[in-house]
């Protein structure tokens, strides 16, 4: 199905926003200004955006330690996120969560999560809630190829099948969990989808570096799940452009691998080539979006730098609603 110009522009904008957010963090982190562990999503944008462009605020997602892309794709504010990563009290989580714990209830974003595999059961709960509400909402959990070996992920899949929960398990196979290859850690020679299928779910596979592949696949998946057939799973083959976390020397990669994936597997480049090639959007339009986004990121960074810092008293709040 052909997307409208507006939809295409929005998709590009979202992917580009994530890309530039992460590329800028990659630079800023080197300066030492940002504290803690940060895991960047560059390279995988087509998955987050290709999934989330189908969703409404009623649909929930839950993410991982590598959560910026999912948050942005689901509509969480850029500036609040940047401030959070900077540890400002104006951040999405008042500087208490940081990169690994960005969440936004109002956007149906149930949180990035520092515990690998923890999101899957939570997503099933959100899916059961959606089922109870009876409005066709779904819940989506993003997992990596590493997370797919965690017991919670398996339990969640069986649980979703048993409860016929409208839950979608998205596996972003970027070939590595930290420094380990998926073909080593996933016992089925790295095949994740077949395993999900064996739990009794319908599964799909797609090219996670191709926005249209993700988007089209997800249309089918969502149609199936919203129709009440129970959970489903999708494995997307994708690439991460940076290290596991910032500072990772990435010696586990093949010679030239980073150049190759940037050249051949860059979802933004592919998208641009395809929409301009087909005459759907022009380079000029996209360039001006690029400029707009760079401005936005610049001002987000400026704002984050200038934003109010938390104080010692802030430590004590937000533990309980009442105590």
């Amino acid at each position: 199905m052909q997307l409208s110009r507006e939809a295409l522009l929005r998709a590009y904008r979202q992917m580009k926003l994530i890309r530039e957010f992460e590329e800028r963090l990659h630079v800023e982190i080197m300066t030492g200004e940002i504290a803690g562990f940060t895991h960047l999503y560059s390279g995988q944008e087509a998955v987050a955006v290709g999934v989330c462009e189908h969703l409404t605020a009623d649909d929930k997602i839950i993410s991982t330690h590598r959560g910026h892309g999912h948050c942005l794709a689901k509509g969480v504010e850029v500036k609040g996120m940047m401030k959070e990563i900077w540890g400002s009290r104006e951040g999405t989580c008042k500087g208490k969560g940081g990169s690994m714990h960005i969440a936004s209830e109002e956007h149906g974003m149930l949180g990035a999560n520092g515990i690998v595999g923890a999101g899957a059961p939570i997503a099933v709960g959100a899916a059961i809630a959606a089922k109870l509400n009876g409005k066709g909402g779904v819940s989506i959990t993003f997992s990596g190829d590493g997370a797919c070996n965690q017991g919670t992920t398996f339990e969640a899949m069986n649980f979703a099948v048993v409860t016929k929960a409208p839950c979608i398990f998205i596996f972003e196979n970027n070939h590595y969990s930290e420094h380990t290859g998926y073909e080593y850690a996933v016992g089925t020679s790295g095949d994740i989808a077949s395993r999900a299928e064996a739990f009794g779910m319908k599964v799909w596979r797609g090219d996670g570096t191709d926005f249209m592949s993700v988007y089209d696949t997800m249309r089918d998946v969502l149609e199936y799940v919203r129709a009440g057939h129970g959970p489903a799973s999708v494995e997307f083959d994708t690439e991460r452009f940076f290290g596991h976390f910032e500072g990772d020397p990435q010696r586990y990669r093949a010679d030239g691998e980073l150049d190759r994936i940037r050249a051949e597997r860059d979802c933004l480049r592919k998208f641009r080539d395809s929409v301009t090639g087909a005459g759907l959007l022009s380079h000029t339009e996209l360039d001006s979006l690029d400029a707009e986004i760079l401005d936005l990121i610049q001002s987000a960074v400026d704002d984050a730098r200038a934003a109010e810092r938390p104080t010692a008293e802030d430590v004590l709040t937000d533990v309980y609603i009442s105590y």
């Binding site: 929930k60 839950i62 959070e84 951040g91 999405t92 989580c93 008042k94 500087g95 208490k96 969560g97 714990h101 969440a103 936004s104 209830e105 149930l110 949180g111 999560n113 520092g114 515990i115 923890a118 899957a120 059961p121 939570i122 997503a123 099933v124 709960g125 959100a126 899916a127 059961i128 809630a129 959606a130 089922k131 109870l132 819940s139 017991g151 919670t152 339990e155 969640a156 069986n158 649980f159 048993v162 409860t163 709040t317 937000d318 533990v319 309980y320 609603i321 009442s322 105590y323």
Partner: protein, 336 residues
């Protein structure tokens, strides 16, 4: 006001709260029983009989029987709560927190804080805890000593049927995550239970008897033992304040401190093993805040630093007893 069993108070409160609020949903293993069997749903209810009949009354959507997957149960409860529901999850035995600790400790307890106060996660996790039924090392444990230490959780431990009702209703209506610990030896005990709406606020201990010589602090099965110890001591002319904590988080510091100000002598009875438990917690609190009032060193009465043993003789020797508690009280009284 009617005499009811502890388990009945729980069952009726679950029903009443489900009636009151359509967002309340239950989930747990065998809480319906009979799913997928020839006998069909509710052929047999949960093993503690605290959910009997609820499936028939509220339907499969709100009473969810689950596979044996505790991480998924507690995780699903978290997801339900983050989505506006009020899940009450059941762990059949408190010992099973071991297989789902991450969801309790790193997820549910921390969401609100990590997310900067912008979410709520009103989960209730009910579980049967404690020794006394010879269920051996993996089915007899106390867990409050760990869970009380986890910021973000509230920990509730009703001793009487009335408190089972009032605290459970409060737990379900509470906007924070609540761990609700039911002592397995108490299910069949009876007591007066107020009719109609009845809420017991958290952080308010119950003084079950008043005396000026020594303060006994406990909860759960041990509270009854404290009462028996107080009877033994009363016969010797020793008067006890007996304090039922009701909740260990929040803790009613005032009730404890007020009592110790009068008695100057403290015995804390905890069913948990001796290290880093509620007894050490309260003794440390009292030393910090009522040091001058203390006439003798506070005493902890706990099991030894061992797992819970199986045989009747062993479990009986393992647990604190009314006699050991009375002896501890006498020790503080004879101290100089």
């Amino acid at each position: 006001m009617e005499k009811k069993m502890y388990r009945t108070a729980i069952l009726e409160t679950l029903a009443a709260e489900m009636e009151r609020d359509p967002n309340v949903v239950l989930l747990g293993e065998d809480i319906v029983g009979g799913m997928g069997t020839p006998g069909g749903p509710e052929a047999i209810g949960g093993i503690w009989k605290t959910t009997e009949g609820l499936f028939g009354r509220f339907g499969a959507d709100r009473v969810i029987d689950t596979p044996i997957s505790e991480s998924a149960i507690i995780g699903a409860a978290a997801g339900l709560a983050l989505s506006g529901k009020r899940p009450v999850a059941e762990l059949m035995f408190a010992d099973f927190v071991g297989v789902c600790m991450d969801q309790i400790w790193n997820q549910i307890a921390k969401f609100r804080y990590m997310f900067g106060g912008k979410s709520r996660c009103p989960v209730v996790i009910r579980m049967a805890y404690g020794a006394g039924r010879n269920a051996s090392a993996q089915h007899s444990q106390s867990v409050h000593q760990m869970l009380t230490g986890m910021p973000g959780l509230k920990v509730v431990m009703p001793t009487t049927p009335a408190d089972a009702k009032g605290l459970l209703a409060q737990a379900i209506r509470d906007d924070d995550p609540v761990i609700f610990l039911e002592h397995k030896t108490l299910y069949a005990t009876k007591g007066n239970v107020p009719d109609g709406e009845y809420l017991v606020p958290f952080g308010h201990a119950r003084l079950t008897r008043a005396g000026t010589d020594v303060t006994l602090v406990s909860f759960g099965l041990m509270l009854g033992y404290c009462e028996q110890a107080a009877d033994l001591l009363a016969a010797e002319g020793i008067g006890c304040d007996v304090i039922d904590l009701r909740t260990t988080s929040p803790l009613d510091e005032e009730a404890i401190l007020d009592s110790v100000e009068v008695t100057g002598r403290l015995v804390v009875v905890d069913e948990a093993p001796p290290r880093c438990n509620i007894a050490t917690d309260i003794i440390s609190l009292v030393c910090a805040k009522a040091f001058v009032a203390l006439k003798a060193p506070p005493v902890a009465v706990t099991p030894p630093h061992t797992p819970v043993p199986f045989a009747r003789e062993l479990e009986a020797a393992y647990l604190p007893s009314p006699e050991k508690i009375a002896a501890a009280a006498r020790k503080t009284l004879s101290w100089k």
